[in-house]
Amino acid sequence: MGFVSRAFKGRPRDQPRDARVPPGQYLVRDFPVLSAGPTPHTSLAEWSFSIEGEVDEEKRWSWEELRALPSETVTRDIHCVTKWSKLDTTWEGISVDTLLEGVETAADYVMAFCDGGYTTNLPLEDVTGGKAWIAFAFDGQPLESQHGGPARLLVPHLYFWKSAKWVRGFRLMNEDSPGFWETYGYHMYGDPWQEQRYSGD
């Protein structure tokens, strides 16, 4: 038998553990806020979303242009590396597949970049194939700035630091390269089901 914390009982376990909650996570009902610095406020008139880097031709959408694209409403579970998970969160956004339509690239990775200087890296195949969105609404309401509004990346199958708040674009890359938290020891990929919290997990 491994380590046991003397006299620790924990919450009642009359219910079987929810199979939707990854290891080491607990459920919350509220929506915690985490960020490394002040919340940026970019006016929608100045806002744009760009796809740049290793592409034949860069692409750019204004807020109006982005919102004119077909959107999807999706309900997904989200998992934060700080241990909380939230089930059945509902978002509205543009599928990243829609944005990458017609983009010619040989790149295998993307760096999402954001207002405020935040970045996070992802394999391209993790933001395509119906797995990621540029989300602008949560629970039927415009996304609040403290939760990443006007728009954030939503990649619910990875830890939530990959779902970059205040996202402004993707830089496509041939090689993987660490983003903000990844530079400080967080995992390059971040699969909650493998508990890939920190480098080496």
């Binding site: 491994g2 924990g10 919450r11 405020g116 400080y184 020891g185 920190y198």
Partner: protein
């Protein structure tokens, strides 16, 4: 676990000896994992409150009534018990002497913990970096590390501590008694031209509003580092 220190009626410090501990930076945190006899586990993150000092470290834990881990850590745990922890974690919300200053620290409640690690490091390193701590507590009894902060100030090394109380005010209190706001930050902070390094830690509403006020006062967003220390999960 070596020792327990009751800081306030709701807050307890745990002094730990961790064999093989790689020295941490002031501001980093650890993940604590508890395991019940049937294998059930619960994990939470706690900021390290002590300055880097070999294999010894201090965590300060606020007991949350509906929490799962904090009532155990700040209630059940005794000297001699063992604890599983992982770390040090994080590397952005950190200060070390070489980063210089001036240093503006803004704390709400138990958000003081990682900032205390910075103040303790500053003291241990005999740093004279001009430092101001603005610290919001519910009442005087809820001020964590009150005596130690008084002592650090009395040493005259260029540290100023400004308390503000948000709920109960003791008789004769001549200090601030309201939530942290733009006017208060404007009065306490160095002018933006002096480019202070700013660390804000506390519950989300305090962190959001203080960071926004500081930006509005003209401080560079890149110099404002934030960390949450809220009751979420506990």
């Amino acid at each position: 676990m070596l020792d327990l220190v009751d800081e306030t009626p709701r807050v307890r410090s745990l002094v730990l000896a961790v064999p093989g501990w790689p020295e941490h930076l002031a501001g980093q945190h650890v993940d604590v994992r508890l395991t019940a006899e049937d294998g059930y586990q619960a994990e939470r993150s706690y900021s390290i409150a002590s300055a880097p000092a070999g294999e010894r470290l201090t965590l300060t834990v606020e007991r949350l009534d509906d929490g799962e881990v904090s009532p155990y850590l700040a209630g059940e745990l005794r000297a001699g018990d063992e604890l599983e922890l992982r770390g040090p974690i994080g590397g952005y919300f950190v200060w070390e002497g070489a980063l210089g200053g001036p240093l503006l620290l803004v704390a709400g409640g138990s958000g003081i913990c990682p900032l205390m690690a910075m103040l303790r490091l500053r003291q241990a390193a005999a740093s004279a970096v001009p430092t101001r701590l603005l610290y919001s507590s519910r009442s005087l009894e809820d001020v964590i590390y009150r005596d130690e902060l008084d002592r650090l100030v009395a040493m005259g090394s260029g540290l100023e501590v400004i308390h503000t109380l948000t709920r109960s005010i003791p008789e004769g209190w001549s200090g601030l008694h309201r939530r942290i706001d733009t006017a208060m930050l404007g009065a306490v902070a160095w002018p933006p031209a002096e480019r202070p390094l700013i660390f804000v830690c506390g519950p989300t509403p305090l962190v959001e509003s203080a960071a926004e006020s500081l930006v509005n006062l003209g401080h560079e967003p890149a110099h404002i580092k934030t960390e949450r220390f809220g009751p979420t999960g506990g």
